[in-house]
Amino acid sequence: MTALVLQAPRFVGRLVMGSLAHVGRFSLLVSELVRGLAEWRIWLPRTFVEAYNIGYGSLFIVLLISGFAGGVTALQAGYQWQSSLPMYVLGTLIVSSVVLELGPVLTALVLAGRIGARYAAELGTMRVTEQIDALESLGRSPASHLLIPRILAGLVMIPVLTVFANIMACVAGWYLVKQVLPITDADFIYGMQYYWRDFDGWYSIIKAFFFAGAITLIPCYVGFNTKQGAEGVGRATTAAVVNASVLILLLDVLLAKLLLNT
């Protein structure tokens, strides 16, 4: 018991020092990114390549998952449906659930696994195999060669993928709700438009943009600071996906509170 009490301050001290070290390293990374922006001839062509990889490469899985999400929303709406409500409410329900929450959050969580894991593993492997050191030894900036293209591509493409996900989920929901309830296309479209606010669309994209920050910055930071060989790469990849996913959920709550004035 005494030993535990004596060890507690040391544990807290280590925790605080560890956190401060992360803050310091992250700040250095951000300053490197800002400096690296000047080298646009380096990062611009690489950003297009990364954007293609993220966008085209993730499109199928994003459409698949959003399609299922929209479909399940419609089926559950059918299960819980009260005949006293007007049919057009279904259009509002499905579109609002998808655009405000399901589309951006599900897309972000899927991409945290797909893109975040890839970034952390790639950069981690490059770190432990001295490829990043090699870049620095050539007098080149790892920020402009490796980090900025990945982050910018994510910041641009993840909101675009979210828009596709929203459309896919709405279409799947529309199709499936017609299979379980006697709703017409005109009812669905009327409901969709009746409560629609342009801000809802912007809110979805703003959320996706913040989520993109979490999906790209955290894995880049974790991968860039990987240590200790293959085991370190594995740890970095797991940490990147878990931390990015948790941050996405925290941002989801924070943005709902800030932007929806609830």
């Binding site: 400096r35 001839r41 492997t125 490059m126 195999t129 001295e130 490829q131 050191d133 090699a134 870049l135 620095e136 030894s137 050539l138 007098g139 080149r140 900036s141």
Partner: protein
């Protein structure tokens, strides 16, 4: 000239460098010997500013590496070619792009014709066929990867070349090929080189001077003859351990 003065470095509780003093003169090839884990590679990374010292300093051409600003350090690094232990080639790029990245002058880097010509020259210098340019690192053997690593290091026509264990993991025939290559490049390009190795035989073949690093300190530096004549027990043990016949030094 590279001057290392009282260099100290520790990682956690482990003291890796404990006051290293060494001078590498213009145009010479210095072999830095020592058993594995004695901080040879750490010392090399201090020279190029990849690791910062806890104490002491590294001075390259009169510039204290630690005190250099970001841009000054980048400029200095462009004068130094670093050959990493396992090549450290970029997996996602082919050999051409890897070597092209070694061109530190951005005008040259953006000139496609110049790049084609320079990459072909560098491949020829390291005895690799021009067709190698289209291959990816995963398609190369260990010896070829090391040679591409050397080609990348020399692409920017550096003043200094730092080799980190260029022959480790290679069979004796390939190790000899790399040693001969290092020797030839040093004389053809007129660079100042430091070769980190634990291969005594290779070091004796290539280097003008040698330094033995043990327990974080340089226990002896001098010519091959001075090494062979040394009575220091650490030197004797190290030389005898790696080879029981030092006649190759003649």
């Amino acid at each position: 000239m590279i001057e290392i003065e009282g260099l100290r470095k520790r990682f956690g509780e482990q003291v890796v460098l404990d006051g290293v003093d060494l001078v590498i003169h213009e145009g010479e090839t210095m072999a830095l010997l020592g058993p594995s884990g004695t901080g040879k590679s750490v010392l090399l990374k201090h020279i190029i500013g990849l690791i910062r010292p806890d104490d002491g300093r590294v001075v390259v051409d009169g510039q204290d590496v630690e005190s250099l600003k970001r841009d000054e350090l980048s400029r200095l690094r462009r004068q130094i070619g670093y050959v990493f232990q396992n090549g450290a080639l970029f997996d996602s790029m082919n050999v051409f792009e890897n070597i092209r990245l070694g061109l530190t002058d951005m005008k040259q880097y953006n000139d496609k014709e110049f790049c084609q010509e320079r990459v072909a020259q560098c491949l020829a210098l390291v005895n690799l066929a021009p067709e190698t340019a289209a291959k990816f690192p995963a398609q190369l053997s260990g010896g070829m990867r090391k040679r591409v690593g050397i080609a990348r290091a020399i692409a920017g026509a550096p003043k200094y070349l730092l080799y980190d264990e260029p022959t480790s993991g290679l069979d004796p025939v390939n190790a000899d090929i790399i040693d001969d290559l290092v020797k030839r490049l040093d004389s053809e390009l007129g660079v100042t080189s430091i070769m980190v190795t634990h291969d005594v035989r290779g070091a004796f073949r290539v280097a003008d001077r040698l330094a033995l690093l043990m327990n974080g300190r340089v226990v002896l530096h001098g010519t091959k003859e001075e090494f062979l004549a040394s009575d220091l027990p650490e030197v004797k043990v190290f030389l005898e351990r790696d080879t029981d016949d030092t006649s190759f030094a003649a």
